[in-house]
Amino acid sequence: MTAPLDVPGSAIDAGPETVLEGADSSVIRGRSLGQIAWMRLKRDRVAMVGGIVIIVLILVAVFAPLLVSWFGHPPAEWHREKIDPAIQAPLGTFGGISKDFLFGVEPTTGRDLFSRILYGARVSLLIAFFATLLCVVLGAVFGMIAGFFGGWVDTVISRLMDIFLAFPLLVFALALGGVIPDKAFGMSGDTLRISLLVFIIGFFNWPYIGRIIRGQTLSLREREFVDASRSLGARNHVILFKEILPNLLAPILVYSTLLIPSNILFEAALSFLGVGVRPPTPTWGGMLAEAVHNYDVAPNFMLFPGLAIFVTVLAFNLLGDGLRDAFDPKAR
């Protein structure tokens, strides 16, 4: 079969590389937009620092027991000998920082702050991750359905989102956290509290991402490739998941990274108001909430959890911002 072209074979001489100006043709061959975003991200040093910090944090959380066994003491172990019995403040400089106790100790109990911060990372990150996951899943599914089908489906889901947005979230979280009994849904203790927090945060936050996804879907729906797919006879779910969803991955990723920090802070706020995970399980928010009453007694007790939250939130924000720039062609 001969290609029915006026100048056979030559119409494609000028390579497609021309579109991506300046890039070496061999370098960009077969790169997806995701890969290009990754290339841009790699150049964004600030975002990369954020990313690296996050990876380190995750590793720290995962290997907390190991790290603690090397550099610290079990998180629940009391060290009264490190405490001035008169004022219950840690002995030694700045909360008793030493090579034995890298971040010093907690007032009163003398527990190793280093290991508590490390263990705290587990819960705080766990909650933030799963809550974000829940938000994203709910938000993406509902947002996509609302935006794609429109009509009454959209009306119902949009109103539902309005309702959730109209709930004073913190008030509700507090209320719900307060009335949940000790045992429920076949769970108890920390598992229940953590699941509950994940549920509260995720369940009440999804409309934010839902709205964004809905908006994006609305505009994606009008893109001609959707019509193209439909005119080929594709069914709705195929269009939704094969055509539209891949285009939503970028905003989902970006908003996830921006949601995680706000969820970390949310957990902290709930802990501060007393509906967080129950002691003695350490969480950053919980520690900070306690430390607020002890900032003079043990400044380290306030500083380190505060710093941990700050660094984590900052890292996620930086990465999120970087991702946004990387995915947004206009941001160049």
């Binding site: 009264r80 004022i87 009163t108 129950r278 002890n294 003079d296």
Partner: protein, 565 residues
């Protein structure tokens, strides 16, 4: 009172604050002064349960309400032991018992008027007591009058509008005489007469639940403003007459209370002198504690005051193996009381290590150190192990410990017990419950405690008044145990109940006290309660605060005398 003039200028002459001494306020009046004028600034982390004298139960509320109301009797507003003495207030003198202690008669002082100038009569006292019976409208106050007065089926003037006269619990033979009729004899009735619910309330001005917006004053001050939950302002009561009131003065022009303050922030303002008194029962928080105890310049203005309060943990005999006394004793021996002392803030802010349940400062206290705590504040592991053997649990056992989740000290106590009992193999699972529901739904509900295996329940109790009955009855009398909302978390010993009855009826104070000491001992023997701290409060009195001392009774500064000039 006189005073007047420009009160704005603050002291002026002395740039340096007057020197003082740590704990001076515990035994003596600091900065005595009779100058008048100025505003006394008080600050409070939360709110009063109520400022309605018929509807309050907290020590600081009782302390505070005496600024504007007068009950039949009162504790003498002086420092030291003497402060535990009751004297007549509205009444000329203490009550006259008759009928073997079943009838108590009080004579009112002449010339006492309400803030609007109406004279106070015995009817107003009767009405006040009557309304306090209605726990639906006024739920917060103590139930002594409900429990002890010969009420028949009378439930108060709200539900039974016209039955007040036919109610025989309190009688008013004349305008100056109040007679109380009890169901059974009670020797310490003068303590009941001290309760703010005996402060007169004019029936015509009673607005039920809204009375707290403006309780009608008989004391030296009266309400000018009450922004619920936010602020209270008291001003001089023009119809208060010093001649009728030997115990009070009217030094301040006004008293202002800021409610709902952030505690740490309040401490800061107290230390900087912007606030004169902090209203709470345990004194300053951790941050201020450090400043107070480490900075000598500040420490001189601090008082570590002993309270009628013991911090303890109930050992629940409903939960095996704690039904076995040896297992309970193992816990008693193994507990590290000094760690717990730390949790409560150390010796000055938290309190002394308790040897037994009864606080040592209470009248009639007798030393009783059954478990050798004095020698081994960190616990006696060997003895504990022996007891475990005797209990057939040589390797220890597992149970649950509950605590009020909002209370950091109790949380740490639970953790400290988890640590120290762990030494002998007793494993504790730590569970926190919201303090609002702690007694109604969790630890104070025997069914729940049993079903959830709450073997240990962190707790603490302060006396309603510094007398054995006011301390013990609510926490060790098995007959007060109900389906829920208990204050006795499971001390069940018929012998103790018997001793309590004896003591209650006993008219002679010394004998009475001896019986209470034996109750204390019996409680130790039974090992139902693990006491660890006799509470102290660490209080701060700014150098500018005048006439400050710790009331032995309330375990905080006596509010009545405080002034700023």
């Amino acid at each position: 009172g006189g005073g007047g003039g420009s009160t704005k200028k603050n002291g002026g002459d002395t740039a340096e604050a007057p020197a003082s001494q740590y704990n001076a306020g515990v035994t003596q009046v600091v900065n005595p002064s009779t100058k008048t004028g100025g505003t006394l600034h008080m600050g409070m982390p939360g709110d009063f349960d109520s400022v309605d004298p018929g509807d309050q139960y907290y020590g600081y509320a009782w302390n505070f309400s005496r600024l504007y109301t007068r009950a039949l009797t009162m504790f003498k507003p002086v420092p030291g032991e003497e402060g535990l003495q009751l004297v007549g207030d509205l009444a000329e003198d203490l009550g006259k018992p008759s009928d073997g202690g079943k009838t108590w008669t009080y004579k009112l002082r002449a010339g006492i008027k309400f803030e609007d100038g109406t004279p106070v009569t015995s009817k107003d006292v009767k009405y006040a007591v009557a309304r306090s019976l209605d726990k639906e409208i006024l739920p917060s106050g103590p139930t002594y009058f409900n429990d002890w007065l010969d009420n028949g089926d009378y439930t108060g003037p709200y539900k039974m509008k016209d039955k007040l006269d036919s109610w025989k619990g309190v009688e008013t033979p004349d305008d100056q005489t109040v007679v109380f009729h009890l169901k059974k004899a009670y020797g310490g009735f003068d303590y009941f007469a001290m309760l703010p619910s005996t402060a007169p309330v004019p029936a015509a001005k009673d607005t039920g639940t809204k009375y707290k917006e403006h309780p009608v004053a008989t004391g030296p001050y009266m309400f000018k403003a009450h922004e619920l939950g936010k602020r209270i302002e008291l001003v001089k009561n023009p119809n208060w007459d010093a001649a009728t009131d030997p115990n009070r003065k009217q030094l301040n022009d006004s008293v202002e209370v800021l409610l709902g303050q952030n505690e740490d922030d309040l401490d800061q303002r107290l230390l900087s002198g912007k606030i004169d008194v902090k209203i709470n029962s345990t004194g300053v928080g951790a941050n201020a504690r450090k400043t107070l105890l480490t900075d000598p310049k500040v420490k001189q203005y601090a008082d570590s005051a002993p309270l009628d309060r013991t911090w303890f943990t109930n050992l629940n005999a409903d939960v095996p193996p704690l039904d076995n006394i040896h297992c309970r004793k193992a816990v008693m021996y193994a507990a590290d009381r000094s760690a717990i002392q730390g949790a409560y803030g150390g010796p000055d802010a938290g309190g002394e290590i308790a040897l037994s349940l009864m606080p040592s400062k209470m009248t009639g206290y007798e030393k009783n150190d059954l478990y050798g705590v004095e020698a081994n504040p960190g616990g006696d592991v060997n003895k504990a192990k022996e007891e475990l053997k005797a209990c057939n649990q040589p390797n220890g056992f597992s149970t649950t410990i509950s605590f009020r989740v909002e209370r950091a000290a109790e949380k740490q106590t639970a953790e400290a017990l988890q640590q120290s009992l762990g030494r002998v193999g007793i494993k504790l699972e730590v569970k926190g419950y919201p303090q609002g529901d702690y007694f109604k739904l969790y630890a104070g509900k025997p069914d729940f405690a049993k079903k959830n295996g709450l073997g240990l329940m962190v707790y603490g109790w302060g006396a309603d008044y510094p007398e054995g009955f006011g301390f013990f009855q609510q926490i060790v009398d098995s007959r007060v145990i109900r389906a829920a909302g208990n204050t006795n978390l499971g001390v069940k010993d018929p012998e103790i109940d018997k001793l309590i009855d004896q003591a209650a009826a006993e008219q002679d104070a010394t004998k009475r006290n001896a019986i209470w000491a034996s109750v204390d001992k019996k409680v130790s023997d039974d090992a139902f309660i693990l006491p660890y701290v006799w509470a102290h409060g660490l209080f701060y009195r700014p150098p500018t605060l005048k006439n400050a001392f710790v009331s032995q009774n309330f375990g905080m500064y006596e509010f009545l005398t405080l002034s700023t000039q």
